[in-house]
């Protein structure tokens, strides 16, 4: 599952960061690296970009860029969800 599919309020753990060049480096530099916990806070009024929260700060990224980040969803209190074949939302 990718970060853009994560609904507002839910939390995920990054498993891989895609993209290339300046964008990818920027994502990594900002701390979006595998094993990092990310929470989707809200979507902008026009539906894009999204506000996410990680490492105690808030970041905004565009949906197209969020789609490059693979996450494993966690449930609300940060516990791992049952592995149900990627159908978790």
């Amino acid at each position: 599952m990718t970060l853009d599919k994560l609904s507002a309020g839910s939390v995920g753990v990054i498993t891989a960061v895609g993209g290339e060049g300046a964008l990818r480096c920027r994502l990594l530099d900002m701390g979006l690296i595998p094993r990092t916990k990310v929470k989707v806070v809200k979507t902008a009024p026009m539906g894009d970009p999204v506000e996410i929260r990680l490492r105690d700060y808030a970041l905004t990224i565009r949906l197209a860029d969020a789609a490059l980040i693979k996450v494993r969803p966690l449930n609300g209190d940060g516990e791992e969800k049952e592995p149900v074949g990627g159908a978790a939302t």
């Binding site: 920027r26 990594l28 530099d29 595998p34 809200k42 009024p45 808030a58 905004t60």
Partner: protein
Amino acid sequence: MTFALVGNQNSGKTTLFNQLTGANQHVGNFPGVTVESKSGFVRGYKDVEVVDLPGIYSIRAYSSEETVTRDFILNNKPDGIINIVDATNIERNLYLTLQLIELRIPMVLALNMMDEVRSNGGTIDIEMMSERLGIPVVPISAAKNEGIDELIRVAYETASKRELPKIYDFCSPGPIHRCIHAICHVIEDHAQDADLPLRFATSKLIEGDDDKIISRLNLDKNELELIDHSIVEMEKEHGLDCNAALADMRYSFIESVCDGAVVKARESKEHLRSAKIDLVLTNKYAAIPIFFGVMLLIFYLTFNVIGKFLQDLLQSGIDSLSSVTETALTSFGTNEIAKSLVIDGLFAGVGSVLSFLPIIVVLFFFLSILEDTGYMARIAFVMDKSLRKIGLSGRSIVPMLIGFGCTVPAVMATRTLSSERDRKMTILLTPYMSCSAKIPIYAVFSAALFPKYAALVMIGLYIFGILVGILIALLMNHSMYRGNPIPFVMELPNYRFPSPKTVAMLLWDKAKDFITKAFTIIFFATLAIWFFSTFDIRLNPVESQSSSILASIGAFIAPIFAPLGFGSWQVSTSLITGFIAKESVISTLGILTSAPGGVVNAISQMFTPRSGLSFLIFTLLYTPCVAAVSAICRELHSKLKGIGVVVFQCVTAWIFAFIVYQIAGLFMV
């Protein structure tokens, strides 16, 4: 002794810089770069200079802000680095710290916003941090001016003793460790010959994003292959590619530094407060109306209330000074021409430009509040989608909207954009947002030629300007600014109360900036126009403007406008004076036509609706006024580019006016 002040955006860097230097600041120019840096002398230390480098998150070669920092530190070799770190957001801030440590320069960590950490019940073990990072750490609060003296003292001591960071190995045993040490071994001599810090060069080789540094190492083919091999080997073992592996190494090290040293007691008040404010300000339905409401309020206060009041005050001051001077000169029996130079040239010219000053100061007062509170970042977040199609990000919307008021502060406001590409593009687009000084032109022409459709014509012109701007932006995206825009990955800082000192310093800066301009470029331009309108070709003073050099120039260039439907010398002369101020177009036209029944009557006789429309399109798009052009020159750091903008806009204006004139010919006479 020189220090470089380096830190993330939103880390309080500007506030610290102002605390360190007070008013002893000047703008520094580094050869070959267009990003501006300020420097200043530290209070109480006459020989200690601090250079405020751009706010960055990492040292890579992807943006000019990053290369400026890299080049300044590598080439100018400051005696020390003061790295400011936001303690409330310590992990991400330390990421840059680790890269700075690799540069092997005496370094001090200024741990900012410690007051916030403490008030939320958190603690940071300063000694443990310092030991684990291998550099001195000083807790400060830049906004409250706490710990600054201690910071200066420690920085001075560290730099005097040339104490290098004690730690520079961030890797734990494993594939990345082997890779780094293998590469270090290969390039050690090269790095020394090239005068590059070894660890920094190694990181750049692994990241592979900085060709300039890599080529400086002068590695031969075998060595490059060897390095490639170790990287590939590492990636295979590690499971992450080189960039992710390095980022992972740095963040893992940071986590180990913070572990046990940083204690967060509870969710920070500032964050909770921000989240609450955001429930309203970035609300799904309210955000956009609130944004436009805020902009309208700022416009209203600036152009109608406060700014207008101050402007009128300044104007009446200049007027009375001018009339006192005139009386004095007359009673002294001064030569008429000399008197005209002082009154019509100096006072009128500089006076009309200076009257911009209150508007600029008031506008920047509001803008700096938007910026410093953190609302500007939310505006970018809310409006981003609408600007993406033209290759810009949400950050550009504010300068562009200000352009509808006045191009000068709009262009100056682009300074807050974090990427140079976006900044340049926004500067080039702002003049297409029709500024308020053009309203009299539209109003008078509409009244004379389209009395029934005045409002429609006005709105139409505004929309036409925006459409041309979008067209130009799309063209730029496909030519000059092709390639990847700087990614829109932007921090949303907590809302904060702006520091009055920072706001005041910014206002002082902008005012100084503008006054300097008013007395250089703008001053000479107004004097030139005065000269051309006071003398005829034989340098005799003229009775009426119609025989002046200006009128001759107007007559000379008039044929250029013939295909647009307005080839008379009066019109072209008024367009020239419009370069000084757009308001002059109508007044010059009035003087030169001197028709009974005023300028409206004159226009309805001189123009047909068809040629009037074409004229309106031309004035909408042609060169910005001299004050705006000088602001553009300043922000693009090039007079040539500024002139390029003037030429480009005149040509565009001509082409569009021509097209409109031809199309209108199909419908009207």
